[in-house]
């Protein structure tokens, strides 16, 4: 078994994994906030629409959602994936990655939105009212007073969710995206050894280890006040 070849292939897969992780975080974090506001909206139709979407997404497997996203072009628009890839001027495997990313972003936005909502609703009304009687604007109250407290509250649940995200990236394989896990799995057959899978496990461990340290650091930084 050629270790350097195995590692190189794993690193390529790892690149895809990290890309999916980053794209999901960058898009789902703000989208989740929008969903959270939607689910707290005073306008009932919006509120129930968003709540229903969040409920559906959280109640069904992510793997199913990934497959559904990949069916959308054909079953909704009657476009073959190949033609869509041509139209978008991307390779098929890039298009598959985009499908996976879309499913991940929507899925994680829904989970994040619930975390945001819980945190926002747990901020005492008195904080808003104190801001109001000091003549602050709604935006100032949210960004200067509430948001920081929300941020501190979401850190712990977010760190759980984000560590889960790292492991969920392995689901990208259902559309043939060669992420870390898929790369390892493919190689098991080539090198006739389980070692690639073990190596992949170490990659995940190290990645999540770094994230855990980072969140621990942030939580410590944020612990300077009590409510």
């Amino acid at each position: 078994m050629n270790v350097s070849f195995v590692l190189e292939t794993l690193f390529q897969g790892f690149g895809k994994t990290v890309l999916l992780f980053v794209v999901t975080l960058v898009l789902a974090l703000p989208l989740g906030l929008i969903f959270a506001f939607g689910s707290m909206s005073k306008f009932k139709p919006i509120k129930y629409l968003v709540k229903t979407i969040v409920w559906i997404i959280r109640s069904t497997p992510l793997m199913l959602q990934i497959l559904l996203v990949s069916f959308v072009p054909y079953y909704v628009f009657g476009t073959y994936t190949v033609n869509l890839a041509d139209a978008l001027k991307v390779e098929i495997d890039q298009l598959m990655f985009i499908f996976v990313a879309i499913a991940f972003v929507i899925n994680y936005a829904c989970y994040f939105s619930e975390i945001y909502r819980g945190a926002i609703q747990s901020i005492p009304r008195g904080q808003y009212e104190a801001g109001k009687v000091l003549g602050l604007k709604k935006g100032q109250i949210f960004f200067r007073i509430v948001l920081f407290q929300v941020f501190r509250k979401i850190l712990a649940p977010m760190s759980n969710e984000i560590i889960t995200l790292v492991k969920d990236t392995a689901l990208a394989s259902v559309l043939g995206v060669v992420d870390l896990f898929t790369a390892a799995q493919n190689m098991v057959k080539t090198v006739i050894s389980l070692a690639p899978l073990l190596y992949a496990g170490v990659f995940y461990l190290v990645f999540n280890g770094i994230l855990t340290l980072l969140f621990g650091f942030l939580e410590k930084k944020m612990a300077f006040y009590k409510e």
Binding site: E129, A130, V133, L134, G135, K137, I145, Y225, E227
Partner: protein
């Protein structure tokens, strides 16, 4: 005409009638206390006055200006509401300090944000002028904005004859104005801290203070915006008895500065000593109103007599405990 006039305030929450035809007025520099058993609508009244709730009907006038009038259909914009709120300060029973900011920042936050907002507005106007200049646009807007431009120049301290067209210089003036105002705000906040006797706590977080100290900071925070009338909603009710007096002392010292104050309190001794006028509320109405002497020594209504004898009992209970 009185300084503050509340005229026929009515407020329901669903089917619960909370305020029924509240009328009273107070003069500038007066201290008015509101007493009454819990559930009588005292908090709701303060919240209506501070625009945290909207009365169903009624009218409020402050310093000759009608701030609220339910007979006018038009609803206030968010901005108008904010301006109106600034006439009043409100100290909450539960302090509501901002936990992530140090004591000094708690006091300075609102004035700083307001300064920032003002400077942002000036800079935006300046950008428009600069753009018009570069693009050689001569618009009617210039005339329309003449007054506000003059105001900007006045406030930032431009020389006579200068116009917003010398935008580089005006931008520099705005920067200078901002930093001067900032240090003014800091100075005022420090003075307020000295006044409430907490100068040495300015770099502490609220969680590091006792309840009494928190409430004193909350008072300073409200004072930093120089409200015309400072309202208190049971400022000592959340405090251990031994911390009550330090807060009351601060409030009493404000009376010495001729502050106009409206105080909801259960501290009868304090109300008696500090107030010019006392309002007794029961079941959403002003049951009795008068000087401390009238209220405490010569109560008229049965409800007030009952309330006073009950609160005396409570007081005795407490002194026995101690």
């Amino acid at each position: 005409m009185a300084y503050l006039t509340i005229d026929n305030f009515n407020k329901n929450f669903g089917k619960t009638v909370v305020l029924q035809g509240i009328n009273f007025s107070m003069e500038k520099g007066e201290v008015v206390s509101i007493i009454g058993s819990s559930g009588s609508g005292k908090t709701t009244l303060l919240r209506c006055i501070n625009f945290l709730e909207t009365p169903d009907t009624g009218k409020m006038t402050l310093d000759g200006e009608v701030l609220f009038d339910s007979s006018i259909e038009k609803k206030d914009t968010e901005g108008a509401l904010r301006t109106k709120r600034l006439n009043f300060g409100l100290v909450f029973q539960s302090f509501n300090l901002f936990p992530q900011y140090k004591v000094l920042k708690n006091i300075m936050l609102a004035p700083l944000l307001m300064l920032d907002e003002r400077c942002k507005k000036y800079r935006r106007r300046l950008t428009v002028v600069a753009l018009e200049n570069v693009l050689k646009l001569k618009t009617k807007r210039a005339e329309k904005n003449a007054d506000s431009d003059k105001e900007i120049l006045d406030i930032v301290g431009a020389d006579d004859g200068e116009t917003v067209k010398s935008f580089k210089r005006v931008a520099a003036l705005i920067r200078k104005y901002r930093s001067e105002e900032k240090s003014k705000i800091a100075n005022e906040a420090n003075e307020l801290l000295a006044k409430i006797g907490l100068s040495e706590k300015k770099d502490n977080y609220p969680c590091e203070l006792s309840g009494g100290q928190c409430q004193r900071v909350a008072i300073a925070r409200a004072l930093a915006l120089s409200p015309k009338i400072l309202c208190f909603d049971e400022p000592t009710s959340a405090l251990d008895p031994e911390l009550t007096s330090e807060v009351l002392k601060v409030i009493r010292s404000l009376k010495g500065d001729d502050r106009t104050m409206l105080i909801v309190t259960h501290e009868m001794e304090f109300a008696k000593n500090v107030s010019d006028k006392i309002i007794f509320m029961a079941d959403g109405v002003v049951e009795e109103m008068g000087s401390p002497k009238d209220i405490f020594e010569n109560p008229q209504s049965e409800k007030l007599k009952n309330f006073l004898s009950k609160s005396k009992e409570n007081n005795n209970d407490e002194s026995i405990k101690e």
